[in-house]
Amino acid sequence: MKRKFFTLWQYIRWPLLILCSVYTGLVVYRIPAVIQKRQTQGAVVVIHVQRITLDDAMGKRLPFEPSPETRDATIAGVDVNNNGIRDDVELTLFKKYPNSVQVRAAELQYALTEQMFLTRVSNTETWKAVSEENARAQLCIIDNHTNRKEVEDLVFNTAARVKAREKAYDFITSYGPEPGEPCDISNS
């Protein structure tokens, strides 16, 4: 019995070793892809979760005017109050619409999603998530009879940012708006 097992082992040990090595190799090879997939899933959740708050719309956390040197020094720009909206864009919208919270909220929401094209897009999945939120913000803009183009001009205000937006659009794919209420801040 022991001899039979030994003979069998002599035959199968090398194929078994090769199979185990191939399997281990494949597992190791897939590790970076799996890590990237999980990172993308996390990034998509962050994109969908980020919304403007009533405090943002009311200007309770308004930042100071960024200095001319820092304002356009990077693609992402300056966001001291960390609400996802670039400080220069946020302040301009507050100056332009000092008396209309709804219009301001709609344009801030749109500015937030437009800024995400510069800061959050790294592949097709993240582009799609940003575009879904962007399409929802577009509906909010339409519902509040305001102008998306003026927000786009504010967000993509330099040649570098226009180029960064085009680069993000390399990941373009088919999509529709994220379901649910168009506006982060309810009109009621």
Binding site: Q138, S174, Y175
Partner: protein, 146 residues
């Protein structure tokens, strides 16, 4: 054993119903398919413009616009060949259309669809509906805009 078979049959019948239920019978989806040699940003802008031009509701039901992205191949050269062949004789390939349809099916949230580009060509209309029914929902309807 009999219960397992019964459970299997139930799953077979219930699963498609659950899948179809994901597409709401309420609401309209307009598919915007960008033309050939359109820049990526312009494709998205075209979809946004269409959404702005259309009413937000139709027959009291929400109306949304989706982008069915028609990609560019070899700097648009291949797309020109496809378009010319479509206009003059049998299309060389429906690759672009099929790719767009797959994306539409994956994003489908309503049962009523409209696309002006496809509406003009009856053979494409049939292919469009067959693909949508196969991939997304057997109850999809073709609608005519007034």
């Amino acid at each position: 054993m009999r219960y397992i078979k019964l459970l299997g049959i139930l799953v077979l019948f219930v699963w498609p119903i659950v899948s179809y239920a994901e597409c709401s019978p309420s609401g309209y989806t307009i598919e915007y398919i960008n033309g050939i040699a359109t820049s990526r940003v312009a494709a998205e802008d075209g979809k946004a413009l269409l959404q702005e031009m259309l009413p937000r509701q139709l027959d009291g039901q929400p109306l949304t616009v989706q982008l069915a992205y028609n990609g560019e191949h070899l700097g648009g050269l291949v797309d020109v060949v496809f378009a010319v062949s479509q206009a003059l004789f049998n299309p060389v390939s429906d690759y672009n259309l099929n790719a767009a349809l797959r994306d539409i099916a994956a994003n489908a949230t309503t049962q009523k669809f409209y696309s002006s580009a496809i509406r003009k060509v009856p053979s494409m209309q049939t292919l469009y509906m067959t693909t949508l029914r196969r991939m997304a929902n057997p109850t999809v309807q073709w609608i005519s805009m007034r």
